[in-house]
């Protein structure tokens, strides 16, 4: 273990990061892509896209996401998680595809990072609470240790006159504190590689004429560079640092079909804000207690485990790159079985909740020439995430939002930003809704896509109208709140698991999922009522008895997929790819 790797070093100046730029930095031989998102967050990432190794520093900073120049993969601000793979527009990328990141702290006009930090970043004591001015960085072709040795010989004066006697204090971790007649500066050495460094000076409580100071020190430090380099030229050039690249997850070596983890509440969040988002709908802003929240993809939902022991699924309204929180909207159901009632009344700001990582079972294609989003009531929540994504990428779309009245429109600030893309339909009768839908869906064309989320009857009506007006099934995507079908679990049958080499008996009264979990087979699940699609499995043989509302009619007819939480088997035996 090289202990130098544990120190924090400045790797960029704040003014290296203008709007929408990606800066290429380096620390101990490791290349860095440094970029500031529109929300001000500074990202320091390993400078290679995990797909094919292309430098991310030549990528595009789109404000919320960084886009790789080679294949257009998008990576979210803060998490570096991949949110979109254009080559497979219908799939949500595996949540765990994530570029390697380094810690980043911005302070005193510099961005600080560390390869393997031992502890949290602490501002050097002499800078704490002081006015500072970061100088122009001076690259030096010399080993970091040599540069540091010479840094201690830098002489300056407070007023730009001839250099005065300077007292020198060397500090652990690659910098020196220099004082000359009352003026103080810190001189840091950023190790680029074994034979290259950057001198980064920070003046403490500088006098007012910054330009004069910058010029004075620029010429002083440039002269110092010449001295260091002539000294370095006498020594043999050290070999460049060999950088090893960490391997990607074994799961990712082959393109994974779907994450295989059980129903977990692996995250802890605090309710940072709770507010009335519209008549009857409560908004919740959830923030992580300590760790970075996993990457959000548009259309994703989370399980929220409530204080009363229940768990419910809620779609995230987050726009692209909003990774410092999750926002959900909860409608108070008059016939609440305890879920929405508990969220509205029992859960308070400051409470801690257990939630699952987001699941992207309702993915958004971004290769459509026109996208139509249809939301009914609280069905607006996943549509807000989708609409913000399409808007950020300048893709053509319309959001049709059906609600009882103006007062029932949730999340007004987000809606207001959508401008002309938003079309609201207020207080319509079922017949009037049908007319509005027929108009909205009048013109289907190649590469148009429709996304629907809302109450069951409205969703059914929209699907039917779309079908009648020529929308092919593969262009119509939907998400039900819940499965209102009565589940018939009276059958009994055998399930053979091809990959696990197990045959299990599913008795009446139990679901396939129950039996799998009882037998220790890890199967992801979430809503457990056939609505969310998390427990989807591939059918190799046999005829499923579909009882879910997740699969489309043709997917059901193909008998190649099954939702194990509610669907059963018509044949005596079902072979699953588990």
């Amino acid at each position: 273990m090289n202990e130098n790797l544990q120190h924090w070093y400045p790797v960029a100046s704040s003014n290296d990061l203008p709007l929408r730029h990606v800066y290429q930095g380096q620390l101990w031989g490791r290349e860095l892509a440094v970029w500031r998102a529109d929300d001000g967050f500074v990202n320091v990432w390993e400078n290679r896209c995990l797909h094919r190794g292309v430098r991310l520093s030549i990528g595009l900073n789109e404000g919320r996401e960084l886009r790789c120049l080679y294949h257009g993969w998008r990576y979210a601000n803060r998490t570096a998680g991949c949110t979109y793979i254009p080559a497979h527009p219908a799939d949500a990328p595996a949540r765990t595809i994530c570029n390697n990141t380094y810690h980043a702290i911005e302070a005193h006009g510099l961005v600080w990072s560390s390869v393997e930090p031992m502890g949290d970043f602490a501002v050097p004591e002499a800078l704490e609470g002081q006015e500072t001015l970061a100088l122009r960085p001076i690259p030096v072709k010399a080993a970091p240790e040599l540069a540091l040795k010479h840094a201690a010989t830098y002489r300056f004066s407070a007023d730009g006159s001839a250099a005065n006697d300077t007292s020198v204090e060397a500090k652990e971790g690659g910098y020196v504190l220099l004082s000359a007649d009352g003026a103080q500066m810190m001189l840091f050495v950023q190790p680029i590689d074994a034979d290259r460094s950057v001198l980064r000076g920070v003046l403490i409580n500088p006098t007012e004429d910054h330009l004069a100071l910058l010029r004075y020190h620029n010429s002083g430090l440039s002269a110092l560079r010449d001295v260091i380099e002539s000294d370095a030229a006498k020594l043999p050039t050290p070999a460049a640092i060999e950088v090893s690249f960490s391997k990607v997850d074994a799961d990712l070596a082959a393109m994974p079909e779907r994450a295989k983890s059980g129903p977990k509440a692996e995250l802890r969040v605090t309710v940072a804000q709770k507010w009335l988002a519209s008549d009857g709908v409560m908004g919740f802003r959830l923030e992580s207690l300590n760790e970075q929240l996993p990457t959000v993809q548009p259309g994703a939902h989370i399980d929220v485990h409530m204080p009363n022991g229940m768990s419910r699924q809620y779609s995230l309204t987050n726009g692209p790159g909003e990774q410092d929180h999750y926002t959900i909207g909860v409608k108070l159901e008059p016939k609440s079985r305890g879920g929405s009632e508990c969220m509205h009344n029992a859960v308070q700001t400051g409470d801690v909740l257990a939630i699952s990582a987001p699941r992207a079972n309702f993915p958004l294609r971004r290769d459509a020439t026109q996208t139509v989003l249809v939301a009914g009531g609280i069905g607006i929540t996943p549509m807000l995430a989708m609409a913000q994504t399409l808007k950020a990428q300048n893709l053509p779309f319309q959001l049709h939002y059906f609600a009882q009245s103006e007062a029932h429109l949730s999340f007004r600030p987000i809606l207001d930003d959508l401008g002309e893309n938003l079309i609201t339909h207020l207080g319509l009768s079922p017949d009037e809704t049908g007319v509005a839908l027929r108009n909205a869906l009048a013109s289907y064309d190649y590469a148009h896509h429709l996304y629907i989320c809302g109450p069951g009857p409205m969703l059914e009506a929209t699907r039917k109208i779309a079908g009648d007006q020529g929308w092919p099934e593969e262009a119509v995507h939907f998400e039900y709140f819940k499965n209102v079908n009565t589940i018939d679990d009276s059958s009994s049958f055998e399930v053979a698991l091809a990959r696990s080499a197990l045959t299990l008996h599913v008795p009446a009264g139990k679901s396939i999922l129950d039996v799998l979990q009882e037998n220790g087979i890890e199967t992801p699940s979430s809503c457990e009522q056939g609505a969310c699609g998390t427990c989807l499995a591939t059918v190799i043989e046999g005829e499923p008895d579909h009882q879910d509302v997740y699969l489309s009619d043709s997917e059901k007819a193909s008998n190649s997929k099954i939702l194990t939480c509610v669907s059963r088997s018509k044949s005596k035996r079902l072979v699953l790819d588990i």
Binding site: E31, L50, H51, G53, P86, K247, D367, A368
Partner: protein, 301 residues
């Protein structure tokens, strides 16, 4: 055995392209690099070709005299190129029958020096997913970004990687086409450093245009890419065809030179493939099975 820096017999025992035959000035000594070694070559008026490890007696630019070469290397002229070998030469070179069809136009479209490994450049040639982002408006265009399912196999008999049923939307599929269409492709990798692409000819749908990439590994991270087209096209001039292909390669070059690491990692866990990368996955496995170490990062034992 020659005394060479390169010790990898897998790469030494291959034919390597040095130059298009059309583009060699006769009667003069030429010099280039291959596998970290300096190589000289020349052709005289009778068409006698030689290659040899460079020496001080016959410097580049001096008159070429075939009789003065004391230690010639093996040579082959095939598919319009001069090939040589620094190890045991294989008996045959891969087939490229279209090149010899009488009504074809064979157009060498340029040689490009690229600071990258040969494997990275071959992979780029096999890749469709980058068309909308790197060759925007020419070979692809957003939002038509989907790479549809296709087939890949490693042909045991011919020892080559073949990808078929490939399809991609192109706004201008070739110089002679005016509007967007789904275009069919077949890719062949019949040699560790050479790849060919077949796509339906815009002027005659029953036939394929062929684009080839023959790489000369100068070092592990430095190549010369010999490119060319073998087309059924009586509309465009040589110059137009060259210009088209040079535009395409000019767009790929900065991407290739920004791949990091420069050598092709063969460990399946080094990078993150997706279904669209099936050909690349098969190519990496094929190289791994051959035991190639030059210009790649082999899988750790």
């Amino acid at each position: 055995m020659l005394d060479l820096n390169c010790k990898d017999s897998v790469i030494l025992n291959q034919w390597h392209p040095l130059s298009s035959l059309e583009e060699i000035n006769k009667g003069v000594v030429h010099k280039t690099r291959l596998l970290d070694a300096s190589i000289s070559y020349g052709i005289d008026d009778e068409g006698t070709l030689s290659t040899w490890l460079s020496n001080d007696h016959l410097k580049a630019g001096q008159p070429y005299n075939a009789a003065a070469i004391t230690d010639p290397l093996p040579v082959k002229h095939a598919h319009g190129y001069l090939w040589t070998c620094l190890g045991e030469p294989p008996e045959t070179l891969f087939s490229f029958s279209e090149f010899y069809e009488s009504d074809r136009r064979n157009v060498p479209t340029g040689v490009f020096g690229v600071h990258v490994s040969a494997g990275r450049a071959v992979e780029n040639f096999l890749d469709m997913g980058h068309f909308p982002f790197v060759h925007t408006g020419i070979l692809g265009e957003e939002p038509h970004t989907e790479v549809k399912e296709y087939d890949v196999e490693v042909s045991e008999t011919r020892d080559e990687v073949v990808a078929t049923q490939c399809q991609f939307y192109q706004p201008q599929a070739a110089l002679a086409s005016k509007e967007g269409a789904m275009v069919d492709y077949i890719y062949r990798v019949p040699h560790v450093n050479c790849a060919l692409l077949y796509k339906s000819s815009p002027t005659d749908e029953s036939r394929n245009d062929v684009i080839y990439l023959f790489l000369q590994p100068m070092g592990q991270e430095q190549i010369r890419a010999h490119t060319g087209m073998c087309v059924v096209d009586d509309m465009n001039s040589h110059e137009d065809i060259r210009y088209f292909q040079q535009t395409i390669f000019g767009q790929d070059k900065p991407i290739l030179e920004n791949q990091y690491p420069k050598r092709l990692p063969l460990d399946p866990r080094a990078e993150t493939p997706i279904r669209a990368d099936k050909t690349a996955i098969a190519f990496r496995r094929w190289l791994s099975r051959k035991g190639l170490t030059y210009g790649v990062i082999p899988v750790e034992a």
